[in-house]
Amino acid sequence: MMDKKAKGRRSDRPPVDLAAQLKLQRDSFVSTFFKKGAEFTEELVAENDRLRGAMADLERENASLRTQLASDEAIRDLLRKIEELEREKQALLSHVHEAEAYSTQFTSRHAQVEEELANLANLHVASYHLHSTMRLPLVVRHLRELLQQLVGARAYAIYVADDARGELVAIAAEGRDVVQLTAIPYGAGETHDDAQAAVERAFVTGIAHVEEGPIHDDRVSPAACLPMTIDDRAVGVIAIYALLPQKGAFVAVDFELFKMLGRHAGSALVGAELFAAADGRIPGVGVFQGLSTSNFPKSAPAA
């Protein structure tokens, strides 16, 4: 039974050559497998190396970009700084211009003040000397000096009114012969030449006439006619005919000097004359005793 069974049954075992063949196939497979594995590993290593290189490149590029970015930021900072400095510079320049303008203004103002001060000094010195004496010759001398040296008059005459004759008589002159300066009748309607008419008009009206602008030497009528008044009453006239060559016209301070002369020259001359007439005697104290503030004329009420 057993043999029958064994005879009828096919063996599961491969034949020997098949086993060898399989073994061969297996070896070949294993060999190929390892070979492919090695190749794959090499490829992986190569890829890894390539990727590492690419990463390094990217890192370098990144670093470069960061540097550039930082550099750009630094430039932007510098530009901002430059803008700030530019603004500061403009502000400083503006301050400098303001300071310069202020300095110019100050210098100009200082010059004006100095000029005003000099003009005031002229007025002070002129009035001081005019009233520094009661001797008539000295008063006339001071008046002449004032006209020549302060005003710069080259030709002038000082007329004083002779009430008894109704004439203006020249008591002093420069650049004109005082003897040849005829007396000028006033208020009688007599005809005069232009020069005399100007003098008479200033005396009668009490209004000064002063030529503004250049004064030419060839003029006939006076360049200035200044009535000398005491309490608004004219007592004489100063006539200026010509100025020194270096002085072509009257200047601001001259007009102030003329105002001062109009108010002070008359009283200085008349006071000196009265003092001389009184032989230099000072009035007794009795003359002054009747005076008190209550007797002074009251000032006009404010409008």
């Binding site: 100095e114 000029e115 000096e145 040296q149 302060l150």
Partner: protein, 127 residues
């Protein structure tokens, strides 16, 4: 401490003298001495050392031009700046004064700022 300068003003007219003294008072540290005429000026110059002299031309006793001439022969003041101040405004007068040794020439009527500027210039005062 700032230096002090001395100035001699020779002028016969008290009015002009006072005006010049006033003008010069505007120059800092300037001490002014006054003289009535050329002779008085020479008297004041003797034994004193002045830094600058201002003189009128037309004066009694000794005029300004004679004074300039004398000052220029004085070893002490031969180099002292001299400013001539006068009513004469012609170029001829100016040339004459300069030829005699004057350093500057100012015509009347004087302007105080002009006098101050000239004195400062000759004394080399910058303020």
């Amino acid at each position: 401490m700032s230096a002090e300068y001395t100035c001699l003003v020779v002028e016969d007219s008290p009015m002009m003298r006072q005006l010049l003294v006033f003008a010069l008072s505007r120059v800092k540290n300037l001490r002014v001495t006054e003289a009535d005429d050329g002779v008085d000026g020479l008297r004041k110059l003797a034994g004193n050392n002045y830094d600058i002299i201002l003189t009128d031309i037309n004066m009694p006793i000794m005029d300004g031009l004679k004074l300039v001439k004398r000052v220029r022969t004085d070893p002490v003041h031969k180099d002292t700046p001299i400013v001539v101040i006068t009513t004469e405004g012609s170029d001829e007068d100016r040339q004459r004064a300069i030829a005699l040794g004057a350093n500057a020439y100012i015509t009347k009527p004087i302007q105080a700022p002009q006098v101050i500027a000239k004195v400062k210039e000759l004394l080399k005062i910058t303020t």
